[in-house]
């Protein structure tokens, strides 16, 4: 029952209207919850309690049911994602090539854990299983870009590059 502090919810009326439309379109379908949650995550980037409540209200299901589905599938996120989404591959090939050390370095560099987002909202870290680039192991993705044959030192430099682009330091 430990509560983690999350950045405050900042949904816009446009997002809410979009979600309402999605709910209306799916409402009558059996098993509407899953497609609606997919769309909700597309719209908001994650599924905070405020969004899950809107879904529960709209579909007439309980919040505990919505939460159960949202926590069952690993593609749903309850925490916001950063402007830049870092995804470290922990698939077999990457793992034997030391992906755990790459992930540890990213976490150390940004001061957050996998699954979390930095306070300034710039970066979030996740792990994934295989991006289909095993020949480049260990691999990580930042947004749509793939970085392969990584070493911890290179990870540092890559993130610095993004930081420089954003004009700040971490």
């Amino acid at each position: 029952m430990a509560e983690k502090t999350l950045p405050a919810f900042q949904g816009t009326p446009e997002q809410q209207q979009k979600l309402q439309e999605v709910i209306e379109q799916n409402k009558q379908l059996p098993g509407a919850l899953l497609p609606v949650l997919h769309e909700a995550q597309e719209i908001y980037g994650y599924l905070p309690i405020e969004v899950q409540q809107m879904v529960a209200d709209g579909l007439g299901v309980s919040l505990s049911e919505v939460y159960g589905v949202a926590t069952f599938y690993s593609r749903f996120s309850l925490t916001p994602k950063g402007k830049h989404r870092i995804s470290v591959c922990l698939g077999t090939a990457c793992y034997v090539k030391g992906a755990d050390k790459i992930l540890a370095e990213v976490e150390k560099k940004l001061g957050i854990k996998s699954g979390e987002c930095t306070a300034d909202g710039l970066f979030s870290i996740d792990s994934c299983r295989c991006v289909g680039a095993c020949g480049l192991a260990p691999v990580m993705m930042i947004d749509e870009d793939v970085y392969g044959k990584l070493t911890p030192a290179e990870v540092d430099k890559i993130i610095d590059k993004y930081l420089a682009e954003e004009g700040g330091s971490n």
């Binding site: 029952m1 899950q52 505990s64 926590t71």
Partner: protein, 582 residues
């Protein structure tokens, strides 16, 4: 009716089409073990304990969900079946916190019973240390997920039966656990406290929040005078905790046992405040009908139902009778009338109610029920199970006790009060008194039309030229459907009785836990109700207004139903609550 023929362990049986193997086996007097299955509540074939073998079928079949087919030959006891069940139990035990000695379910646990029957090695697979924080924040229910076997019976009771759905499975794989949305405490959820989850749990993962120690302390305190009162349904269920058959009325032994819990302990009859509720409620109904008040009027005796309205249908709050429940009325009567009459400082009167219900624990803590801000009217509300544990700990040979009566002055009550414990009972008792008030010549006492197991009973009565449409239901899922109908204007009633638990208080969340072999095969709700209706039929007085104790308290204190003092002590208000939070 179409039937199918099959063999269970070579015994031929004929059963209706649609029966499962589990049901068919019972026809051959063979009980297949189950864990996740619970009749009328949960049937998901998840735990794999009920596996059986069948001729010409590959693999084992889950008997609780597999249909009985024509010509099927089932074997429930083969080495392959035994091995499978044993391994399943060993796996379940690998993540179960095996703290059996101090577990409240010791000797009354389905997992423990099966483990003993199958001689399983509890340590075959590595045990995990307890990892979940115990959720004991609410005043009524404690959840210990370290003992949970994820059978989902509590989830099904909450969602499918009660339509409340404040608990559900969270996450997946090894991380899966049952809890409320966003892993908040049950106390922060819109739980109504009915406790149907507790009576559905096969193990010790869900229990009531025990308050026995507080009562023992008060009994030992020379400053305190301890008074008990027992709800109408307790007499029909307490005996089960002492090995007596379901439906045994133990009124006299219960009274004797409570008196022996400690020196000076008094035991009063809560059927008296059930009668008092009827006087106030019948008066309120007549006033509402005659003066154009909000109708239909809903009964308000059931705290789970009241909280359900407050959370999910706050627009219906004006429909709730303003009468306090019998538990709350008794607390108020004791701390006002009784204390004044006997020169007792209300702070030294320790009031213990024994109730069939976990929601009554919540009710006892409601600040809006205090008739004086300085103290609660009810100090402790004990479930039937807690009372049974206290009697056992006191070493009282319950079954050997001579029957005794309740203590004066609250010793006499009517059959109308007694049937409060069964669905339809409150309405029937109210009808008895309302009819006699409106028409002095009215003779009907048994309103059998409102009794029984049907989900919703609706009847129209005509009294003194006034037509009264009534409806009765129990179980909050049924209540929700009825409310939706009323909301849409599809139904027109003057009075509606609703109890949160299916069948009423006799099936309350605080009642003795019945083993699966009783719950799945015996109509225990009918047996328990019958004990109350038999008690009513044999009662000296049948109508609440005939009770001499009722006459006494009105003459000496409350004047008449609905009068100023009666209103101050016997009526209450309600609060709209959030749909998603506490």
């Amino acid at each position: 009716m179409e039937t199918v023929h099959l063999k269970i362990n070579n015994i031929p049986v004929e059963v209706p089409k649609g029966y499962t193997i589990l049901q068919a086996a019972k026809e051959a007097n063979i009980e297949i073990p189950t864990l996740c299955y619970l009749k009328d509540i949960n049937c998901i074939g998840a735990c794999r304990v009920c596996m059986v073998e069948a001729k010409n079928r590959r693999g084992l079949l889950a008997a609780c969900v597999y249909p009985a087919e024509e010509g099927l030959e089932v074997f429930t006891n083969t080495p392959a079946v035994i091995k499978s069940r044993k391994t399943t139990l060993e796996l379940l035990l690998s993540t179960h916190h095996k703290k059996c000695l101090s577990c409240v379910r010791n000797n009354n646990c389905e997992l423990q019973r099966l483990a003993a029957e199958y001689g399983v090695d509890e340590d075959r697979f590595t045990s995990e240390e307890p990892i979940y924080e115990i959720d004991d924040a609410s005043p009524y229910i404690v959840r210990d997920n370290n003992k949970c076997i994820q059978c989902m019976r509590c989830v099904a009771a909450c969602k499918n039966v009660q339509s409340v759905s404040v608990i559900g499975p969270i996450k997946r794989g090894f991380a899966v656990h049952v809890g409320s949305a966003f892993d908040k405490s049950l106390n922060d959820s819109p739980c109504v406290g009915c406790g149907q989850c507790v009576v559905s749990c096969p193990v010790g993962a869900l229990t009531e929040k025990s308050q026995e120690d507080k009562v023992w302390e008060a009994i030992a305190d020379p400053e305190k005078q301890v008074v008990f009162y027992t709800a109408p349904s307790i007499k029909a269920t307490l005996g089960e905790s002492f090995g007596l058959p379901v439906g045994t009325n133990v009124d006299g032994k219960m009274t004797a046992a409570i008196r022996r819990l400690g020196e000076g302990v008094k035991i009063f009859n809560m059927d008296f405040t059930a009668d008092l509720t009827i006087l106030e409620e019948a008066n309120e109904l007549i006033e509402r009908v005659q003066n154009g008040g909000t109708l239909p009027m809903f009964t308000s005796c059931c705290p789970g139902w009241v909280k359900f309205v407050e959370h999910y249908y706050p627009e219906f709050i004006p429909h709730l009778s303003t009468c306090k429940s019998p538990q709350a009325m008794f607390g108020a009567v004791l701390k006002s009338y009784y204390c004044e009459k006997n020169n007792i400082d209300p702070k030294n009167l320790f009031v213990v109610s024994v109730i069939p219900c976990t929601a009554k624990k919540f009710e006892a803590s409601r600040p809006d029920l205090r008739s004086n801000e300085a103290y609660d009217d009810v100090d402790v509300a004990l479930t039937t199970r807690e009372l049974a544990r206290m009697i056992k700990r006191a070493g009282i040979s319950f079954n050997e006790l001579e029957e005794e009566d309740y203590d004066a002055p609250f010793n006499k009550a009517t059959g109308g009060g007694a049937i409060f414990g069964a669905t339809g009972g409150v309405l029937e008792a109210a009808l008895r008194t309302a009819a006699r008030t409106l028409d002095g010549e009215f003779k009907k006492v048994d309103f059998e039309e409102v009794r029984g197991p049907e989900a919703v009973r609706t009847v129209t009565y005509e009294v003194a030229g006034i037509k009264i449409n009534v409806a009765v239901t129990s179980g909050l899922g049924n209540a929700r459907q009825l409310l939706e109908k009323i909301k849409k204007g599809e139904a027109d009633y003057q009075m509606v009785e609703i109890m949160a638990c299916p069948g009423g208080c006799i099936n309350g969340g605080g009642q003795p836990l019945l083993s699966d072999s009783i719950r799945n095969y015996v109509d225990y709700k009918a047996l328990r109700s019958k004990a109350l209706y038999d008690y009513d039929a044999a009662a000296e007085f049948r109508c609440s207004d005939e009770s001499p104790v009722i006459k006494m308290v009105y003459d000496e204190y409350f004047e008449a139903p609905g009068k100023e003092k009666a209103h101050k002590y016997l009526h209450t208000t309600y609060v709209p609550r959030d749909k998603y939070y506490k």
